[in-house]
Amino acid sequence: MSISGEKFNLFWTKAMPEVSAFINAMVPDFHQAQDLVQEVAVVLYEKLETYDETRSFTAWAIGIAKNKVLESRRRRVNRPMIYDTEVIERVAGICADMAPQLAERMYALDNCTKKLSLIGRMRKVFLLRYQSGLPPRMIAGRTGINVNNVRSMLCRIRDDLRKCIKDTLKKQEAV
């Protein structure tokens, strides 16, 4: 691995959680968001020579991610996004400063996601929503389950997860 490759790995490993958080917030489509994260990584690697090491790599990376989000807005408009540049700026600014909270929260989130118990119809709805990326209306059409029930099932999954995260964070704080 070249010197720049090693350096990039070091920087990217540190910045990736914030960059992902920003992109995941701005791009609700998971697969589209994943693609964007990869695209950002490629750009960062290509432009590494131009990076000013006196500045924050994460801030620089989020700056590039912001441009990528705006670019994707022109490319794909099949899913809603918060298009307002001011909102994008604000979200990017906060993301760059929330590394410690994000790390703590991601740890709780990972643990809680593993604990989720999904069976029967709930699991079917969950997979159609998050694996196939279908919105509740289409899930209702596909499964024959009333759309409000689909929404409430998804809501229950998310609420369980939120509650678990909250409890985990509380326990961490207590420790």
């Binding site: 958080a21 917030a25 809603p80 909102v87 919105p135 998804l154």
Partner: protein
């Protein structure tokens, strides 16, 4: 968060209308804490997508799902319990008797491997009990309470099939006190030349290479000569001998006692006196050729 949870869900579910988008925009611009919530929600939805991807990967590669795993564990546990029960049931059923007392050189043979006898040794279906020399003796108590006392130089094998005891006396002598048996499943004691069917009685059976002798103290025993299939019923106080030149008919004990050259203590109503072929009990009877 409580007020805007639904709005955020709709945003991430791709169901936001233009009006709701404007509403969300205003909410985000109002407070930096709202933006933090917005970011956290993005992470939450992203992790749920990752979880679904992982499930899909596991399914594609034949890996059990987490919830299925717990079911598999439950099924495995149930199967193990059932296997345990079946084994216990099998062992209980195959453990057909216990060696209650013995003296001399006595062995219990299973799968052709002789094992030293000890009091309380379990005898399983298919085992053989061997009293090897002249001074050896063993008493076996069956699960139903019947008991068999093996004399010296005796070889007796045991089995149980569908609740029916079957024992084969290859050589030597056995005195048996058989508890009442089910009519459909009598206790069978066979020798090389005869088969005794017992429904509950006290008897003694003596087996040579080609001869059999039986004395009945209580009850009634049906015995069949294998050579010609002739059956006779032997009541209490009588005996029968299956040997060359001897009529296959029940006779009083006193008759057989003559062969023993005994003192009459084995007479009707008395205790069964065990005598083995090797003691010359049938010394006057010439063995028939094998039938």
């Amino acid at each position: 968060m409580t007020d805007y949870k639904e709005l955020l869900d709709q945003y991430y579910d791709g169901e936001l209308t233009s009006e709701q988008e404007a509403e969300l925009h205003d909410w985000l611009m109002k407070n930096p804490a709202n933006i933090e919530t917005f970011i956290y929600e993005g992470q939450l939805h992203s992790r749920l997508s990752m979880r679904s991807e992982a499930e899909s990967f596991e399914e594609r590669h034949g890996m059990p799902r987490r919830w299925w795993n717990s079911r598999a564990l439950a099924v495995a546990a149930t199967l193990m319990v059932l296997a345990g029960l079946c084994t216990s049931y099998y062992l209980y059923n195959s453990n057909i008797a216990v060696l209650t007392s013995f003296s001399g050189d006595v062995y219990v043979i299973s799968s052709s491997k002789p094992a030293d006898a000890f009091e309380g040794k379990r005898i399983y279906s298919g085992n053989q009990v061997l009293c090897r020399n002249g001074g050896s003796e063993a008493t076996i108590t069956c699960r139903d309470g019947s008991s068999l006392t093996l004399g010296p130089r005796t070889e007796l094998s045991f089995s149980v099939s569908h609740g029916q005891y079957q024992s084969h006396l290859s050589s030597g002598s056995v005195s048996a006190v058989i508890k009442k048996q089910d009519n459909r499943r009598p206790f069978i004691i066979s020798t090389k030349s005869a088969v005794a069917t017992v429904l509950g009685t006290e008897l003694s059976l003596f087996a040579g290479d080609s001869s059999t002798s039986m004395e009945v103290e209580k009850g009634l025993v049906r015995i069949m000569r294998l050579a010609d299939g002739k059956k006779v019923e032997v009541p209490a106080g009588q005996s029968v001998v299956d040997a060359k030149d001897v009529e296959f008919e029940p006779v009083n004990w006193q008759w057989s006692d003559r062969f023993r050259g005994g003192d009459g203590s084995g007479g009707a109503g008395g205790e069964i006196k065990e005598v083995s072929l090797d003691n010359g009990w049938l010394e006057n009877i010439k063995d028939k050729p094998d039938k």
